[in-house]
């Protein structure tokens, strides 16, 4: 491993990490990781969610302090740890996935505000800020009206503003965390051009992305992490997408999808010409009893909005829904739950579970009627109900009264699933059920989903990770800009077919 980790070219690395260890709440996020970046190269950091990519970036940029024994060699100096200030001053910049920009402020202020921080005299020279901003944008070959508020620009342009901000001052090493997650293909191409421009001007770029085509397209080398450990460092030439997937997951995928033909089963949900202009339009599909329907597409394709409409939390403008053959109309999610629809939110931390409250209370909140006798809640019934679901889904907990926030991501997600199963649903909508769940625990979640489908539940599985829907759904809908643009049957197509369509 360590042989591989050393740069082959003999060039002295700009950044060199050794013995990086990091533990969060008993879980090893990074295990003895090494990482090198050469000056001016484009280096890809690859790994599944939860593999330690972001943690590594945060150590380099001084957000986290690695455990003792680590060494960070950067630009001729050795550090035991970085701090945000030293990292900034040394020219290490990050463009976070959420960009960390100020939408209400002008483009110029967004790009150049750091140049006026903490300087004496404490006056803001707007003319100089504009100049700095225009110069930074010009380096990227872009011209924007720097006086407009940032919110006037689409997300792809904001990305460029974030890059321009990173270039103000001496940038030597730029980290980009999933920069293309919400971009279309032409926007992505433009961004990749900018990355090449940067690299040509001598700035090293570390690119984090799970879109493998891009990874191969842009980088000269890639470092693969899995479960917090280094898998290896590889030259990009000669790599294939399937090889990277294997390295990232540690599994060989022999295209055994779960997909079955369930077209003989009766329809559970029928959606007809469902529209809410601006969010989703002209959506028609059927989910059958025992079927798992996958819905994929880029961020902002309208997947979550569609799900919220099916759950009665967002009113459609037109169209109909039938459940079990009966037309229904929901004025709130209470109607939807009563009709047998359950919705697992994509945002487990702030919408899916009530983090500070107990495991037991989170599990029973949607089915209080089942633990009520004579108008009063029964503690015994509650305890029994919770114990049953904990056992059924194999959830590992301490005590029922512990706060749900004390559980790991995978166990939290199981509690969230149990909460909805306790309502005895006919249709379970799972919106990004593996976000923030360890790679190892994901298989467990999908096992549960498969068992539920086998027991006759109709399931809608929403995910922006194409392999998840390809391997776990019976049919796949591809949404883009609020419409269903493709329908796939995993039995009859390859993973690459769907990925090509989604990332086109």
């Amino acid at each position: 491993m360590s042989e591989l980790a050393r740069p082959k070219s003999g060039q002295k690395p700009l950044l060199s990490l050794r013995n990086i260890n990091m533990t969060f709440g008993g879980i090893k996020a990074l295990k003895n990781v090494s990482f090198d970046v050469l000056p001016g190269e484009v280096h890809c950091l690859a790994g599944e969610n939860g593999s330690g990519k972001s943690t590594l970036i945060k150590i380099v940029t001084g957000v986290y302090r690695p455990e003792p024994g680590a060494s960070i060699d950067y630009d001729g100096q050795t550090y035991s740890h970085m701090s945000p200030v030293t990292a900034q001053a040394a020219g290490i910049k990050v463009i976070w996935q959420d960009l960390a920009l100020f939408p209400e402020m002008s483009v110029a202020e967004n790009i150049a505000f750091q140049t006026v921080l903490g300087r004496w005299p404490r006056f803001v020279n707007y003319a100089r800020m504009r100049e700095t901003a225009i110069r930074a944008l010009a380096r990227l070959g872009v011209s924007l009206d720097v006086d407009l508020p940032l919110k006037e620009y689409p997300i792809s342009q904001r990305q460029i503003v974030a890059i321009a901000r990173a270039l103000v001052g001496e940038a030597k090493l730029v980290f980009m965390d999933e920069p293309t997650a919400s971009l279309t293909q032409s926007e992505t191409d433009h961004l990749l051009d900018i990355v090449r421009t940067l690299s040509a001007s001598g700035v090293a770029v570390v690119f984090v992305s799970h879109r493998l085509a891009e990874v191969l397209d842009i980088s000269s080398r890639l470092t693969v992490l899995r479960d917090g450990a280094l898998v290896g460092v590889y030259p990009a030439t000669g790599m294939t997408q399937s090889r990277i997937t294997e390295l990232m997951t540690g599994k060989t995928f022999d295209h055994e999808t779960r997909a079955r033909d369930v077209s003989a089963n009766p329809a559970m949900l029928e959606v007809e010409k469902f529209s809410r202009p601006g969010l989703f339009e002209d959506i028609s599909f059927t989910v059958r009893r025992g079927e798992t329907l996958g819905i994929t597409g880029l961020l902002g394709a309208g997947r979550t909005e569609l799900a919220l409409s099916l759950f009665g939390m967002l009113k459609p403008r037109s169209g109909t829904i039938k459940i079990d053959g009966k037309p229904v109309r929901f004025s709130s999610n209470r109607d939807a739950i009563a009709a047998g629809v359950a919705y697992l939110s994509e945002d487990r931390l702030s919408l899916g579970l009530i983090q500070p409250q107990s495991i037991a209370d989170n599990l029973v909140i949607a089915s209080l009627d089942r633990i009520t006798s004579g108008g009063l809640l029964s503690d015994d019934r509650k305890r029994a109900l919770v114990a049953r679901w904990i056992a059924d889904l194999g959830i590992r907990i301490g005590r029922q009264g512990d706060a749900v926030s004390t559980l790991s991501g995978g166990n939290q997600q199981r509690i969230a699933i149990a909460k909805w199963l306790a309502t005895d649903p006919k249709l379970l909508i799972l919106d990004a059920p593996t976000v923030g769940v360890d790679v190892g625990a994901r298989a467990g979640i999908f096992d549960i989903i498969a068992k539920l489908a086998d027991s006759g539940l109709a399931i809608i599985l929403i995910s922006d990770e194409v392999p998840e829907v390809y391997f776990h759904a019976d049919r796949v809908l591809h949404m883009a800009e609020g419409r269903i643009v493709n329908r796939f049957t995993p039995r009859d197509c390859t993973l690459q077919d769907i990925e090509a369509a989604v990332y086109a």
């Binding site: 739950i337 899916g352 579970l353 009530i354 500070p356 409250q357 909140i365 108008g375 009063l376 909460k419």
Partner: protein
């Protein structure tokens, strides 16, 4: 000793530790300082003073558990008292009969509940901050009350209502009995009813609660309505105790009720807190003021000592939390 303490804690919940310790400390300190402290007289003075502050604290508790606040509690109590006084006055004043008094109480509770209902509706539907909404209601009620009474006292009620403020049954003061009944109702509401369950959930995360299929607006409206009704009961007891109604009576209780909740282990941001520890906290505050009174201390000094006690509780709670944190690191 430690085993006993652990068992008590398991029985009462972690919120009980603070007020329980404070109760012990106050009783021990004053028993040593003053021989008359452990007497019927102390019990009597505490028992008669506790209910007004206590009922208002119960009214404050529910909104705090949802992560809100009801600053209008004292003036809601006053307006409810005025309503009752108006019914009694228009039915013969001193000569009003029990039926008139019964109607007076019903109307007073109705008016209190209505004040809460309006606040609840505004908070639930406009999502305005409860502090601003209840502050507006407080100013409205104060202005309205002062306009109606011209700032004076309303008095002249039938004598049979006086026992509600001063009388005893089997040696137990009637206002104390009413208060204990209300404490038990609140206890059952919060531990055994869906409304109570949802109150806690809303206090921790209202959006996640809504996503779970709970009608969060209905819960908020009911919480403030019940809070208003509880204020009205406090208003009726104040009327009976002072034999008069004046807008501004009990105004100084407002912030004490908030602090009593915190002393009772209620989370200031909502989501956590139980009725019984709050009850114990109220007893501690009252014993403290009676004890100081017994030692001849000035009434204002007693109030100052309340403030010091509360600050001490915050510091101790921080220290206890820190200690637990250190133990966890070691373990």
């Amino acid at each position: 000793m430690i085993a006993f303490f652990n068992r008590a804690r398991a029985l009462m919940g972690p919120e009980m530790a603070g007020p329980g310790f404070a109760l012990l400390a106050v009783v021990v300190f004053f028993s040593l300082a003053s021989p008359q402290f452990l007497s019927r007289a102390t019990f009597g003075s505490v028992a008669f003073q506790l209910p007004e502050l206590g009922l208002l604290t119960l009214a404050m508790l529910l909104p705090i558990l949802t992560g809100g606040l009801n600053l209008a509690i004292t003036f809601t109590a006053n307006i409810a008292g005025l309503t009752a006084a108006w019914v009694l006055k228009s039915n013969g004043g001193v000569d009003a009969g029990p039926v008139a008094f019964f109607i007076a109480c019903l109307l007073a509770i109705g008016v209190g509940a209505a004040s809460g209902l309006v606040m609840g509706l505004v908070i639930a539907y406009t999502r305005a901050h409860p502090i601003l909404v209840s502050l507006s209601m407080m100013i409205f009620l104060r202005g309205l009350g002062e306009f109606l009474t011209r700032g004076g006292d309303i008095s002249g009620f039938p004598t049979f209502i006086q026992p509600i403020g001063h009388g005893s049954i089997l040696g137990l003061p009637i206002p104390l009995l009413i208060f204990i009944i209300c404490v038990l109702i609140w206890h059952v509401l919060l531990t055994r009813m869906k409304l109570g369950f949802n109150t806690y959930m809303i206090g921790s995360n209202i959006e996640a609660t809504r996503y779970s299929g709970i009608n969060t607006r209905k819960v908020q409206v009911l919480v403030y309505t019940l809070s208003g009704a509880m204020c009205a009961i406090a208003g009726i007891i104040m009327m009976a105790r002072f034999n008069s109604v004046r807008v501004g009576h009990g105004e100084s209780y407002l912030l004490i009720t908030v602090l009593a909740c915190f002393l009772g282990g209620v989370n200031p941001f909502g989501g956590f807190g139980r009725v019984i520890p709050v009850f114990v906290a109220l007893v501690v505050l009252q014993l403290l003021s009676s004890g100081l009174n017994l030692m001849g201390a000035n009434q204002h000094l007693a109030t100052a000592v309340w403030g010091i006690l509360l600050i001490a509780v915050m510091i101790l709670r921080y220290a206890a939390g820190h200690l637990k944190f250190l133990q966890r690191i070691k373990g």
